[in-house]
């Protein structure tokens, strides 16, 4: 092996160690700084890191095709005597990144808090079960503030997760399960119960599920229903304004079936004729407090950040507002988003007390120079 190959091999190992470390929890401040310094030290470091990350997709495909069961794999590992033959003499250069506390996910505390709630709701559930036949209803109201999220296990074992600025009222009775979404966004994992369908009502829009995972986002004038798995049925009661009663014949609310990885938008009480394919990454990113966007106009992305943060992005220039960008950020990490915008050619970002003002530098084009 040449000296150059040896060095590259060692860099690959450090890159892979960092990559594996990053798949567990959030790095500490020190680790983060060390990683960034390592990345910036050489383009070779960065290329190897990207190369290791790019393996991901093939790794999933390659392992899945083998169809090995967990049991077989565990047996395979147990038969191993523990020797780790390593190649390439890479170990001499290794500086393994520090280990992390296992699996610390940002929303764990929320779930722990919710664990207390489940005891409380469980008690309520028993209370109305044992009470007499007057169809008792268990009513609970949950709310999140600006930038806040929470996870609520429901009495039937379903899980309700609420995004920022959300208000819901949950009504459970032995006969039905209803969640009224006053405003905001919820993702629901519905536990199967054939006798009690679960309804999510967002104004006039009623989404019915028996057992499935789906997301409902109610905005001022529209509601977006996205199904992750299973299917739901969506109907809209159209309250016909009195002055139009004469022209519009009364018709039964139309039902739309929305299947896995599809979404249906209801605008001003009118559902789209057909569900459309959904980008589940974008829809479900909020569950990890992420903002994920692919070729979306800058203005729309900025608005998404503004949902979570007190410091807002202000963009007036129409060209910039329509600039298509792609990326993936922690929703609260506005500093990184600002840095990202600043890294684009021709974009100037100014930090004001309550906002980031994003403007165009007139002398340069807003995209990278063309390549020959």
């Amino acid at each position: 092996m040449t000296e150059e190959a040896r060095i590259r091999s060692a860099i690959t190992q450090v890159a892979a160690d960092w990559y594996a470390a990053h798949r567990v929890g959030q790095p500490s401040d020190a680790d983060r700084a060390a990683f960034l310094a390592w990345l910036k030290a050489s383009p070779l470091h960065m290329e190897e890191y990207l190369g290791v990350a790019a393996l991901d997709r093939s790794m999933a495909a390659a392992t899945q095709e083998t169809g090995l069961s967990k049991e077989t794999l565990i047996e395979l590992a147990r038969a191993d005597l523990g020797a780790i033959p390593l190649d390439h003499g890479a170990t001499a250069h290794r500086q393994p990144p520090p280990s992390r506390p296992p699996e610390v996910r940002p929303w764990r505390p929320a779930l722990a808090a919710a664990g207390i709630a489940i005891l409380a709701s469980g008690a309520g559930f028993l209370a109305w079960r044992s009470s007499d036949h007057a169809t008792p209803v268990d009513v609970r109201t949950y709310r999140t503030g600006h930038g806040e999220q929470s996870a609520r296990p429901l009495a039937d074992g379903s899980m309700l997760r609420m995004n920022t600025d959300t208000l819901v009222t949950v009504r459970f009775s032995p006969l039905e399960r209803t969640i009224e979404l006053d405003h905001g966004q919820v993702a629901i994992h519905v536990v199967h119960d054939e006798r009690r369908a679960l309804h999510v009502r967002a104004g006039s829009t009623d989404t019915v599920a028996i057992g499935t995972d789906f997301d409902v986002y109610r905005r001022t004038d529209s509601t977006l229903i996205t199904v992750v798995s299973g299917q739901v049925s969506v109907s809209v009661d159209s309250p016909v304004p009195p002055q139009r009663l004469a022209q519009v014949p009364a018709k039964p609310p139309s039902k739309r079936r929305v299947g896995a990885a599809q979404q249906l938008e209801v605008v001003a009480d009118v559902p789209a004729p057909e569900p459309r394919p959904a980008d589940l990454r974008e829809t479900t990113a909020w569950l990890e407090r992420k903002v994920v966007f692919e070729e979306r106009p800058l203005a729309a992305v900025a608005e998404e950040f503004n949902r979570y943060n007190d410091i807002v992005f202000a963009i007036d220039d129409p060209t910039l507002r329509n600039l298509k960008i792609s990326g993936n950020f922690d929703a609260a990490d506005i500093a990184s988003f600002a840095a990202f915008l600043g890294s684009l050619g021709g974009v100037h970002v100014e930090r004001l007390p309550a906002s980031f003002r994003v403007s165009r530098v007139r002398t340069k084009p807003t995209t990278v120079p063309q390549r020959s």
Binding site: S9, A15, A16, D17, Y19, R23, R32, A33, F35, L36, L39, K40, P43, M46, E48, Y49, L50, A54, L55, S58, M59, A60, A62, T63, T66, K70, L73, I74, A77, D80, G82, I84, P85, P96, S99, P102, E103, M159, H189, D213, S229, L280, A285, K290, V292, I325, S326, G327, N328, F329, D330, D333, A335, S336, A338, F340, G342, T367, Q370, R371
Partner: protein, 171 residues
């Protein structure tokens, strides 16, 4: 709930796959482009002055990389007569699910990767499969194999580096 969470995490885990793979795809390899793109990403990383502002350096790197690939595809679209010019609809984000060449590329890579994985020591290999095939956490893998989560992380690092080295020699 755990399976729901696992599914979401898996989706997010994979969100940069296409863009990252584009760096190493055959289409880019045919020219100097891939090296240029890596260089461009690197320059933008260097522009980050205030390192404390970057809460998630890895996410930041992927985001910049994704965007550079996207800008590159736009530039290729605008340059008529260039070898890279493609129909507008195909040129947006590189997505291997469109285009036979990318698909072929992927199949070849997967087949090769299976051979490479088979070279790993058994514990290491089992760790990779439990992670990527069965979606277990480090902690869960550790419990199943009777080793520490830290050891699991180490095995994955060894396996990933091994695969990366062997896959580089493929191109």
């Amino acid at each position: 709930m755990p399976e729901l969470r696992a599914r979401f995490v898996e989706k997010l885990f994979s969100e940069h796959r296409y863009a990252l793979q584009a760096f190493f795809s055959r289409r880019l390899r045919t020219k100097q482009d891939a090296a240029d793109l890596v260089q461009e990403v690197y320059l933008r990383m260097l522009r980050v002055r205030d390192s404390d502002a970057i809460r998630n350096p890895e996410g930041y790197l992927f985001t910049v990389a994704t965007h550079v690939v996207y800008e590159h595809s736009l530039a290729a679209r605008r340059a008529p007569g260039s070898v890279d010019a493609e129909p507008v609809e195909a040129a947006a984000m590189p997505d291997p699910s469109h285009g036979f060449e990318e698909l072929f590329d992927l199949q070849a890579r997967v087949a090769r990767l299976q051979q490479v994985l088979a070279q790993l020591p058994p514990k290491c290999r089992a760790t990779v499969h439990l992670r990527y095939q069965h979606g277990l956490s480090y902690q869960e893998i550790g419990t199943a194999l009777g080793i520490s989560a830290h050891m699991v992380q180490k095995y994955l690092g060894i396996a990933l580096a091994h695969c990366r080295r062997r896959m580089v020699s493929l191109r």
